[in-house]
């Protein structure tokens, strides 16, 4: 900055009394000696005075806003603003509900596989819940798969479960199982004792199918579904001894199945079974082996469920978690629809 500009700035600030005390004293000392600087100051003062004295200009008209235009627009804007906000919140809530519901449904399905085991485990703190669930599931799960097909066939309730079975095989039976199985609680134990092979197989997936199957193929399958129910009820009451028995029985079943040497295709077979007619279901032995195989081979399938829903919490039985899951899914869908409507309304309003 040139000295001249600095002087101009000092003089300008001096006029407005905006100089620091030292600067002010220094400038006044210079002004006392320097006539040219004084002339500059006077000229600047006159300039500022001219501007100050400019007559104020009145508004040539009123600038009030037309309530017909801006009042309505403002309200519309508010409405739009709120609907956009609400739609955003609804979308967020819907996505959470959908994900939660999906997870719950999934975990519910997986737990249904292990339902008999999980329930007791939860009931009895003595056993490490996770391991118990996994083991039992492994045992129990295999049998379920073979039974699954009938379930799908039986009724509409089974159909969703059949879909889920693609993931875990198990679920189809679960929800229905609890509902239907409970009454048969007594039968469960019966099966178990003899149960080496057949019991485990029937227990799981069969639940939904049971109703239909019990009539068709009473042989080995009828009891298994009952077992799960019985286990849940009975075990919680009786305690560890029961579990031990169950485990042993299950293990024996698995080993027996292994002996039969099921091929890797077993798992693949299982799912088709679920979808297909009950043709495969009648033959208990292959089915059982398949199930056993699955249980033994893919503990991973069993694992996720405990992971998703902490082992202790699953106490509310497999079906219990699926119900809120479905409710959440439904709520999520409703919220999505509402959000969509709000978006559309806001968009049209905006237009």
């Amino acid at each position: 900055m040139r000295e001249q500009d600095r002087d101009l700035e000092r003089l300008s600030a001096y006029i407005d009394d905006a100089l620091a005390p030292e600067e002010r004293r220094a400038l006044e000392a210079r002004l006392a000696e320097n006539a040219a600087l004084r002339a500059d100051l006077d000229a600047l003062r006159e300039t500022v005075q001219l501007l100050h004295d400019l007559p104020p200009v009145r508004a040539p008209r009123n600038f009030t806003l037309d309530p017909e235009v801006y009042g309505r627009r403002a309200r519309g804007r508010d409405f739009t603003w709120w609907s956009v906000r609400l739609a955003g919140a609804l979308s967020a809530a819907a996505s959470v509900a959908l994900v939660l519901g999906f997870v719950l449904l999934m975990s519910g399905g997986m737990q249904s596989m292990s339902a008999p085991a999980a329930a007791p485990a939860a009931a009895q703190p003595t056993l490490p819940p996770v391991t118990a669930a996994v083991d039992e599931r492994g045992d129990a799960a295999p049998p379920a798969t073979p039974t699954a097909p009938p379930a799908a066939m039986v009724g509409p309730t089974a159909s969703p479960s059949a879909e889920w079975s693609a993931f875990g095989d198990d679920q189809s039976g679960q929800e229905p199982l609890n509902m239907g199985a409970l009454p048969d609680a007594d039968g469960g134990e019966m099966l178990y004792e003899p149960g080496e092979l057949p019991p485990s197989g029937g227990g799981f997936g069969g639940a939904p199918g049971e109703a239909g199957r019990s009539e068709d193929s009473p042989e080995a399958f009828i009891p298994p579904p009952e077992i799960t129910a019985g286990d849940i009820a009975a075990q919680s009451a009786t305690g560890a001894t029961h579990e031990m028995e169950m485990e042993e029985a299950a293990v024996s079943a698995v080993e027996a199945d292994k002996v039969q040497t099921v091929t890797a295709t077993a798992t693949v077979m299982v799912q088709p079974n679920g979808a297909l007619p009950s043709s495969s279901s009648p033959t208990p032995s292959p089915a059982a082996t398949l199930a056993a195989r699955e249980a033994a081979v893919e503990p991973t399938a069993a694992l996720p469920s405990p992971m998703l829903a902490p082992a202790p919490t699953p106490t509310p039985a497999p079906g219990a978690s699926a119900a809120p899951g479905a409710a959440l899914l439904l709520a999520g869908l409703v919220m999505l629809v509402l959000a969509g409507v709000l978006w559309v309304v806001a968009w049209r309003r905006r237009g």
Binding site: L8, S12, D42, L50, L51, L54, P56, N62, F63, Y70
Partner: protein
């Protein structure tokens, strides 16, 4: 006027309350816009836009000086209008040719004195118009509107130092410009050209 109450009502969407505020401040806001824009059509456009913006954004007003808040909005509206006119200068040729007499506040004076004042005002406004936009804003805020440095800094969104330097440069330019039209100035305002020439040597 219960300004705080009117502002609250306006924030709740009461446009009548807002219009009361408009009527109260429109002269000050228009004066600012006119001095910055230099002519009435542009000033009217800027003021109208400013009040619309103010109404739409009044929920964001969080206390302080409502007048300063309005001045900031009209300052921005003036910048927008200036930019718009620079992009399309030909669109306003008619407006520029049309020299509408400024609706000055009436003063009890004879016609001759009135004409002199009008000529003086035009001369000063012409010099203000010749300033760069940034300097013009600050000069109008401080020397026409009477804002303090701090108020001007808040309204223009710049630092105190920037206000000081812009203001001094604007005043320096105005001094030179007004010296060139000094014959129009009343005797008491007549700038001493000789002394200023000496000072520049």
């Amino acid at each position: 006027m219960d300004e705080a109450g009117l502002i609250e009502d306006a924030q709740r969407g009461d446009i009548n309350a807002f219009n009361t505020l408009v009527l109260h401040y429109q002269d000050a806001v228009y004066n600012m816009a006119y001095r910055v824009m230099g002519e009435h059509h542009a000033a009217s456009d800027a003021v109208q836009e400013a009040f619309i913006s103010a109404y739409r954004g009044i929920e964001r007003f969080r206390g302080g000086s409502f007048k300063s808040w309005l001045m900031r909005i009209v300052t921005n509206a003036c910048y927008d209008e200036l930019r718009r006119r620079k992009r399309r200068p030909t669109a306003d040729i008619d407006v520029l040719d049309y020299t509408e007499p400024a609706p000055l506040v009436s003063r009890p004076e004879n016609p001759e004195a009135h004409a002199e004042h009008a000529a003086l005002s035009d001369a000063i406004q012409g010099c203000i118009n010749a300033l760069p936009d940034d300097q013009r804003m600050i000069a109008v805020l401080c020397d026409v509107q009477g804002c303090s440095y701090q108020e001007a800094a808040d309204i223009a969104g710049v630092s105190l130092g920037t206000v000081k330097s812009r203001l001094s440069r604007a005043r320096g330019r105005l001094r030179v410009c007004l010296g060139a039209v000094r014959e129009l100035l009343p005797r008491r305002y007549r700038l001493d050209s000789e002394s200023s020439e000496e000072s520049t040597r």
